[in-house]
Structures are given as structure tokens and as C-alpha cells.
Symmetry: none
Subunit: 219 residues, 2 copies
Amino acid sequence: MSFSITEENYIKAIFHLQQGEGTVSTNELAAELHTKAASVTDMLKKLKTKKLLSYEKYKGVRLSGEGKKLALAIVRKHRLWEYFLVDTLQFGWDEVHEVAEELEHISSKKLVEKLDAFLGYPKFDPHGDPIPDSHGKMAVQQHINLIDLPVNKPAEVSGVGSQSTELLELLKHKHIGIGTRLEIKRKFSFDNSIEIKLKNQNAFTISQQLAQALFVKLM
Amino acid sequence: MSFSITEENYIKAIFHLQQGEGTVSTNELAAELHTKAASVTDMLKKLKTKKLLSYEKYKGVRLSGEGKKLALAIVRKHRLWEYFLVDTLQFGWDEVHEVAEELEHISSKKLVEKLDAFLGYPKFDPHGDPIPDSHGKMAVQQHINLIDLPVNKPAEVSGVGSQSTELLELLKHKHIGIGTRLEIKRKFSFDNSIEIKLKNQNAFTISQQLAQALFVKLM
DNA sequence: AATTATTTTTAGGTAAATCTAAAAATAATT
DNA sequence: AATTATTTTTAGATTTACCTAAAAATAATT
């Protein structure tokens, strides 16, 4: 069975909002997809007949096994293409998301497998997110939220919590990217801001919001 | 201005049927696109308002300057992706068309330019068709470098890149001259040597330097 | 518990791209 | 030139994905 780009985008959005388990509401989906609740209801009925999800009126929605499988296949393509764009074509890691949103809908299975092999079966994309393998399995991220990093523990930035251009702009300005080495020097409980020190640089403070948007791995 | 995949496919089909000059009929287009004449008429009206073509009722269509520009951009993407699939991902040259039909609609201009650079600005795709450059110019085919000849395409030696006695000595020894019929059986990326087969003879390999000094025309 | 607020669904409509069937224009043939 | 055949266009429907506005269900608050 094959699915339209729109259908695939719904499945992907539900997968992201579901995160592990739980149920997703119509309004949440409408917001995520920049559409209206009425449109979402229509599409959920349709996707239900295609057995990609379970849906009861007013009860929210969750992906079926089939739905999860499809979602993982799309995520796999998205992240492999991001890896390709950065690693092979020398894109900046902050400019690949939009392009990958288009490339993830290319249907050829053989293409995905050959691309994966060419890239050397990478396990994480340029934002630090794990790439599902051809069976849908992905590596567990030993990433912790920067806000939870203990003071004076050296760590390396390994992922970002969102792809918003606003966040990427701020990170660029602060010279923070995937792979940046840093440690926390102080935590201020007044506003939950933290003072961090990048390797070979002076310390500066960042907001709680920014810290929560960054993931690091201990070294 | 941006165009739907369907619109792009119409423009591409008209471009192919037009071939150089001339006008394209509604029925020809319907056949090419596996659709019905009535649908074609509708779309032609629409594309006319977008100034991609000139169209008068019952008189057929031809692309405008803008239309040709768009067609060349799509052809460029199609052929670059085909080259990528064969050259980088090791697809067979006979299995890339369908995939390229999807990839040619990816919109990012930056992606196309970076892909072109990564591939080394190839001039011909794996089928021997010329790849338009970023300005829409493409090489004229009847005199291509042997190094750019696709595998298994019969060709005839039509020129040499130098008149040095060293080259001519080598050519004499290999029994290669103007008018010699040959085709490439394999390309070896290790040293860019190629295995060629002369008509009615066994195959043998020649160096990159020699291949670059020979021009052939497709037959 | 009753009322108010929010969320979700239904009902009815629009735009894009397609279709079939019938009408109009052009081309071919006697 | 008149008739027949072919091509092309119009007219009216269908499907997908979306919308607005109103109704129905659920949740929150007094």
C-alpha cells in the first residue's frame, strides 16, 4: 500500500507527539501540522480505514503497529538524508531540515538501503538524533538534558530539542553546535539560568529555555 | 513562483515532445502523460495564465522562455540525480529512471548546486544525455570525451585530443583510429581506467589519460 | 450539579486535478 | 464542396485535502 505525502506527514506528526506511549489529541495535531481541527478529524477517519492508527471519536488517536512501522521508515529516511546533506554535500547542520522534509517522501526502498550503505550505516543524524535501521531499531541516546548536567562535569553537545530557526539562530550566535565541548560552572535558582564555559572560552550564562533545548553526553 | 509536481510534469512533457522547435498537440500530451485530452486542455489554460507557454485553442502549445527555463531546470535535476544514483550509489544505469522521476521535483536550488559540485560537474548522464548546467546550457552531444561515454553505449571514435607522436604511437599499437567502433564495458574508480571493447575484438583496459584524449560520437 | 468554557465533530463548500459524455472546430475523404 | 472522421474543447462530476460555521461532546468552574 502506498500513502500520500499528506498522509505520511500526519503519521510522522502523530509519532512525534506520541513519543513512546500516550494518546494524541485533535488540537495538538492541528497545531503541529498548521491546519485546523476539522481537517484533522477528516484525515483521522481516513487513516483509520487504512489501519494505520486507532481512533475513537473524542478519544484521541494512537498509531497501530503498521502506523509505527511507517513512521519509523519516514524518520529513517529523514535522518539519513540529513546525514547525507551534511556529511557528503557539506551543508551546515542548521540548514538541512527543510530539504530533508521533502526528501523523506521519496519512495524507493532500494534508494534508502543504498544510501545507508554509502554513508556507512550512521547511527545518529547531525542533530544527534538516532537513525532507525532497516528494521526500525535505533540506538538509545545516552543524551541528558543540559539542565540536568552536574556542575563541572565536562560534556559534549550531542543534540538539540527543536529545529526552529529561532533556536538555531541563537546557537549560531553563541557558537554552540553539535560536538561543542562545555561544562556548567554555576546554576542560578532565581531564574534557573546556568553559567556555562565552552572549551577555551570565557564563561557566560544562558537561559533555562536554551538549556532545556540542548542535549549533551558526558565524556 | 512555485509549481506543483503535476505542473512540472506537464512542462517537462511539452519540452520533450517539442524537441527544439515545433508545436505540441493536446492528444500527444495526453498520451505522453497517460491522461485524457480534456484534462490536458484544463491544465494548458492554467499554465498559460502562469506564462509558462503560449496556447491558442485548437492550435497546440509551445513553451515560453520561462517555460523552457523551468523545463531545463527539471531536466538538469533529473539527470544529475541519475548520475548520482549510478556513480555514487552503484545503481544499474537501467534502474534509475523511476527514482529520478521523483527526485527531480525536490525544490532546493542549493541542493542541486551542491550535488553538481560533489559529482564533479558531469556533462552527461548515465544514458549519454547531456546535463544542462546551472544556466540551462548543455553540451552538444556528437563529440563527447570517451571518459564521459556511458557503459555499454556503442560509439565511434571521432577525434583525438592531441597530435603528439606519443599518443599516436599508442593508438596505433591498440589498433584505435578515427572511425573505430567501440563501447565501454566497465569503469574502475580506483584509477579511472576503463575497459573497452572494440567491435569484433576482446575487451581490454585503457588508462584515464588515454580515455581523456579520445573523442567519440554516439551511434 | 449546573453552568460555562473548551475541544471535537458534523455539515456544507472550495480549489486542484482528474474523469466521461456531448458539442464544437478542424482535418481528411469521397 | 459536402460529408465523414478526428481532434479538441466545454460542461458537469468526482476525489483529495483543505476551509468556516454551527452543533455536539467533554472538561472545568462556580
